[in-house]
């Protein structure tokens, strides 16, 4: 229930935040990495840090994560094939061999087909996600935004305690 409420808050705050469409879209593109790629991997620590430190919408990042997670599961077979094709590519063999024998690099699990495929998949999808989110936010704010802001539901959600936590990561 709390997760659902948090997700709803994220959605509303994100769409109505003072953040620019660019910040919201960048947050969603970054957050998508957490959902598209297997979560417990080193690269996601970097993504999370970027999401928190960069002046992008953190709420949009959480929303991107939530929306991309089911997509990540669904696309796993595609990511596996993509990753395996890259790991098997004769032209990249020297690079993988080098990276595999560099200290700490193997802990990124780059040599797992799903991890590599999903990271590459996310990099390929990041720009389309950014563009689509930006257009979507602009249109939403121009059409539905004000009506929703005046609704009771919006006011109730934003009044909850979780909103205070969210404010810490609100775009400036």
């Amino acid at each position: 229930m709390l997760t659902l409420l948090k997700l709803l808050q994220s959605l509303l705050k994100t769409l109505h935040s003072e953040g620019t469409p660019h910040q919201v879209a960048a947050g969603m593109a970054l957050g998508a990495a957490l959902g598209l790629t297997p979560l417990m991997n080193v690269h996601n620590l970097a993504v999370f840090a970027a999401l928190a430190l960069l002046n992008v919408s953190f709420g949009a990042g959480m929303l991107g994560w939530a929306l991309a997670t089911p997509l990540g599961f669904a696309l796993d077979p595609v990511f596996h094939r993509l990753g395996l094709a890259l790991l098997d590519a004769p032209g990249l063999r020297g690079f993988w061999t080098w990276a595999y024998n560099v200290p700490l690099a193997p802990y990124t699990n780059f040599n797992n087909s799903v991890v590599l495929g999903s990271v590459v998949g996310w990099l390929l999808l990041a720009a389309p996600i950014y563009a689509a989110a930006r257009v979507g936010v602009v249109r939403y704010r121009a059409t539905w935004g004000e009506r929703v802001r005046q609704s009771k539901l919006y006011k109730a959600v934003t009044a909850s305690q979780l909103y205070n936590v969210y404010r810490l990561f609100r775009p400036e």
Binding site: F73, D76, W96, P103, N111
Partner: protein, 609 residues
């Protein structure tokens, strides 16, 4: 107002989050390491591996495994190995590359073959080990151990054979069909060559040229005629080449049919054995009796050694090619993890050199102090450059196992992997076992055993020698009355005070052979021959006659059909070849006649085919 790129006020909360993650990692690192190690080891060994606890000692780059249990892949109720504690010191530089180079290894409280509290679960997923277990089941079936049959002989029993059950009948029918289709195929192929029009036009040209007088021809006409004849000769030669190619192909087909005829004899031998089996006739051959009595227990030993050898060849392959493995278990798809070994770098796993003094405690026959050594045990033998070797020995006179020595070499450096192991035990309390098909349990008591096994590429070589000077025999008569034959065999065997068994494994993985000789087989065979030899011989003659009656006609028909097809095909091809040769000779003759009087005016170019 220009927006800042970095949100500095989030640094503190982020640092708190990172600290929380680090705290969770510190709290849960050991349980996670235990789960990961259990999963990886279970997958690699194809059997359940349990760990009570993993302790991490980052300050001295080491860890300890506590309460290790490795289930026996062939007996889920037992553990192959148990260890109270294994202390491992690893190379920290290699660990930075996520590689495990073991510098020091210490084992405590090793126990072998102990009964498990709960039976082992089958390993989840479809890993190599599971495939291997299935392959070894096939290996066992291929060794085809006969059964000891000691049911009462009933010489009057009717032998009800259904021709449909006999392999010779099936093979003969298949051969008849193959012969017919071969004949039709050859006819179609020869017809498709369409030599008729070519022969007609060649003959017509030869006839028309033959009617001309070369002396009456001017040079130009003669040259034109020569050219036409040459063209025809060329076409005929090409036809002959096509026919030759077809002949070659057809001969291959005919040879296959003849091989089929040869296989009918082998099928008939199998049918004799099948029919013999229906009458439940006991085998009176000494090697068969040994294989029947000691085959299963011998194959068990070889099968277990072969399992570990095959697993070693799969997991410790030669060369430095990238290696695929199933990825880790997680909610998301596991995927495939690829390792990229590199020259002059650390292998993924290496036990450089270890001297291990270990003690097997408890009341097990194997209890005692062992000295074990291992060298160069690695997942990438090519990086280490020397064959992997291990040995363990124990001397404990007066115990259940007076001496035990295990030596093994895994040479995975070349393209052909060579693994060998030699296990020698003296003064062993050998386990008792029931002789299959006989109401008798053999207790070998104290004895000696040696198991030598080698796997080189696909070639298997194994030898198991068991020597027990004072055995005990216990008739297993509970709830059953023995028939005359069983009583005879039990009496014969029970008089033999010792057991000397030699089993030889040979052949390949897909076509293994097993020969077993014991000091029992001749005695049992002789007593059976003396008692029922005549009856068995009569019954066998009846079996052969019945099989011959049912399959003779079919086999003869198949032979005749193949011979007929061979004759027909040869005749048809001979006819075509003869016609082509004949017309070719005629054209050559006319060519010479045309060129002759021209006195060298017409140069006949050599034909290039």
């Amino acid at each position: 107002m220009a927006r800042r790129l970095v949100r500095w006020k989030a640094v503190v909360p982020l640092a708190l989050v990172v600290a929380l993650v680090a705290l969770l990692a510190w709290l849960f690192a050991e349980p996670v390491a235990r789960d990961t190690a259990e999963e990886a080891a279970s997958k690699a060994l194809g059997t359940q591996v349990d760990l009570a606890r993993v302790r991490l000692y980052p300050q001295r780059s080491g860890f300890a495994l506590e309460g290790l249990q490795v289930a026996d892949p062939f007996d889920s109720t037992r553990n192959l190995l148990q260890a109270d504690r294994i202390d491992v010191k690893v190379d920290p530089v290699a660990l930075a590359e996520k590689k495990l180079v073991v510098e020091r290894l210490r084992l405590e409280g090793i126990r072998l073959g102990e009964r498990r509290a709960r039976p082992a679960r089958p390993v989840a997923g479809e890993g190599y080990a599971k495939t291997l277990v299935r392959q070894l089941d096939d290996f066992r079936r291929r060794l085809d151990v006969p059964l000891v049959k000691l049911t009462p002989l009933d010489t009057l029993r009717q032998l009800a054979l259904d021709p449909g059950q006999l392999g010779t009948v099936k093979a003969a029918k298949a051969l008849l069909a193959a012969a017919d289709s071969s004949r039709q195929a050859v006819t179609r192929r020869v017809d498709s060559l369409r030599f008729g029009p070519l022969l007609d036009s060649a003959r017509a040209l030869a006839d028309s040229v033959g009617r001309l007088d070369p002396k009456q021809l001017d040079v130009a006409t003669a040259a034109r005629l020569v050219q036409r004849v040459q063209g025809q000769v060329k076409a005929v030669d090409q036809a002959r080449a096509r026919l030759a190619a077809l002949e070659k192909e057809v001969r291959g087909g005919v040879q296959a049919l003849q091989a089929g005829v040869g296989r009918l004899d082998a099928a008939r031998q199998q049918d004799y054995a099948f029919a013999r089996g229906l009458l439940k006739l006991p085998s009176l051959a000494a090697p068969d009796l040994s294989r029947a009595m000691f085959g299963p227990v011998t194959i068990d030993r070889f099968q277990q050694v072969l399992y570990w050898a095959e697993l070693a060849q799969e997991k410790l392959p030669p060369g430095l090619q990238p290696r695929r493995e199933e990825g880790p278990s997680r909610l998301r798809m596991a995927g495939t993890t690829v390792a990229f070994p590199k020259e002059r770098h650390y292998p993924q796993f290496l036990l450089e050199s270890g001297q291990v003094d270990l003690t097997v405690g408890g009341s097990s026959p194997l209890a005692g102090a062992y000295r074990a050594a291992a060298q160069g045990i690695t997942t990438e033998p090519a990086l280490v450059g020397v064959p992997m070797a291990f040995q363990a020995r124990r001397d404990a006179p007066g115990t259940a196992v007076a001496a035990l020595e295990v030596r093994g070499v895994l040479d995975h450096l070349g393209a052909v992997m060579r693994d060998s192991v030699l296990v020698t035990a003296r003064g062993v309390a050998l386990p008792a076992f029931r002789l299959p098909g006989l109401p008798l349990t053999l207790d070998p008591r104290q004895g000696g055993a040696q198991l030598a096994f080698a796997l080189a590429g696909d070639q298997l070589r194994g030898r198991l020698v068991i020597s027990a000077p004072a055995v005990g025999w216990s008739p297993d008569t509970a709830g059953a009355t023995l028939n005359d034959l069983e009583r005879l065999v039990v009496r014969t065997i029970a008089r033999i005070p010792s057991l000397d068994l030699t089993a030889e494994l040979g052949g390949t993985r897909t076509a293994p052979t097993l020969a077993i000789r014991t000091n029992l087989d001749e005695a049992v065979a002789a007593s059976l021959r003396a008692t029922i030899g005549e009856q068995v011989a009569k019954a066998e003659a009846r079996v052969r006659a019945e099989v011959d009656r049912l399959v003779g006609e079919q086999q003869a028909a198949a032979r005749q059909r193949v011979a007929a097809v061979q004759g027909d095909v040869e005749a048809r091809l001979g006819l075509e070849r003869g016609q082509l040769d004949q017309v070719s000779a005629r054209l050559d003759q006319e060519l010479k006649r045309l060129a002759g009087p021209a006195g060298g005016l017409i140069r006949i170019p050599k034909l290039k085919l």
